[in-house]
Symmetry: C2
Subunit: 203 residues, 2 copies
């Protein structure tokens, strides 16, 4: 045993990562309002001012949490793509499914990720276009690009569509559209449009 167990330990060892991990838990459990410097500190077992030595205030913590969330997000979509099948079309469907699924499971995380302002993105050097997630999208979209079209056009159209659908769906905003009347499921609807994009060259 240590000599005086009541005395506070002044060296955590891996506080930065512990705080980020605590932040993600808090977001998942209590929504966007639960992400608090003091709560993160408490959950990591340190005093309330300790995070200031690892992040630039609350904004800094949010950025770091978003950075880690993008990593989780990317891995989630990668798994979803791999689980779906080997063909590009199936992988693309998997990505769409993973996108929406991640949003439903971690909606506060998604809000933190895409709620960052441009400055925070720059400061933390977060560039979704350089992420694994977007690389998957890029690779999987490639076969769908018609020959007379810039591939970036398809990529950002697909991204916008899936992102918009996810955002609207996650926040319950598509209730007025009665998704249950729209076919076999939300993913088929997204895929229908993706197919339509790809069919431009074959018609």
């Amino acid at each position: 045993m240590t000599q005086t167990p009541t005395k506070p330990a002044h060296h955590h060892g891996d506080l930065r990562n512990a705080l980020i991990k605590a932040g993600i838990s808090l977001l998942d459990e209590g929504g966007i309002a639960a992400l608090t410097l003091r709560k993160c500190a408490a959950r990591a077992g340190v005093s309330h001012a300790a995070p200031a030595h690892h992040f630039d205030g609350l904004a800094g913590l949010k950025s770091a949490v978003a950075q880690e969330a993008f990593r989780l997000f990317s891995r989630h979509m990668m798994d979803a793509a791999n689980a779906e099948g080997p063909s590009p079309r199936d992988r693309l469907r998997g990505i769409c499914r993973g996108y929406v699924q991640f949003g439903l499971t971690h909606r506060a995380l998604l809000e933190t990720m895409f709620g960052l302002d441009a400055e925070s993105l720059l400061r933390e050097r977060i560039d979704p276009g350089d992420s694994d997630a977007y690389q998957i999208l890029r690779d999987t979209c490639a076969p769908f690009v018609p020959p007379d079209t810039q591939k970036e056009v398809i990529e950002f159209q697909v991204w916008s569509l899936v992102h918009g659908y996810t955002m609207l769906f996650v926040s319950g905003r598509l209730g007025c559209l009665h998704p249950k009347n729209l076919g076999d499921g939300p993913f088929d609807q997204v895929m229908a449009l993706l197919d339509r994009i790809g069919d431009t060259s074959s018609s």
Copy 2:
């Protein structure tokens, strides 16, 4: 003159609307973090606890502000549609343009509108699908719907696409896509896909 001008007036007359108006200004000026009960109260010239008699806490104020924002949003898109031209295709383009434009001008407003949770939507009876904005989208989309497709499918695909594009664009998230390399402008890209949707039946 009144007898004692220093005495506080205990009846504002139209405090609820004044608070909502103050909230919208605060959002436009200082972003989402600037929307505060106390600041709204100060701007309306009342004490810090006065808003509690008109809204159910901060969440209630946010809902009311969002409700008004949806009204502004709807009118903005209506104007944009009318300014573009008489044909459905032009009107649809106008709506897309108005959507993005509103997002760029009032990004904090958009964040408040679409950041509401489902409970708040229900409590304030906010249903985007019943709004003028969505009615415009619905009417303007109608001519683009292929004969073998449910119209709701096209409507929600268009909405998802435009909403997603707006969200990504407004938060600077499309920077990695170098929009300047993508053609004549962002609106043309959205319209390209919209045209592609409509062309399904004609090919």
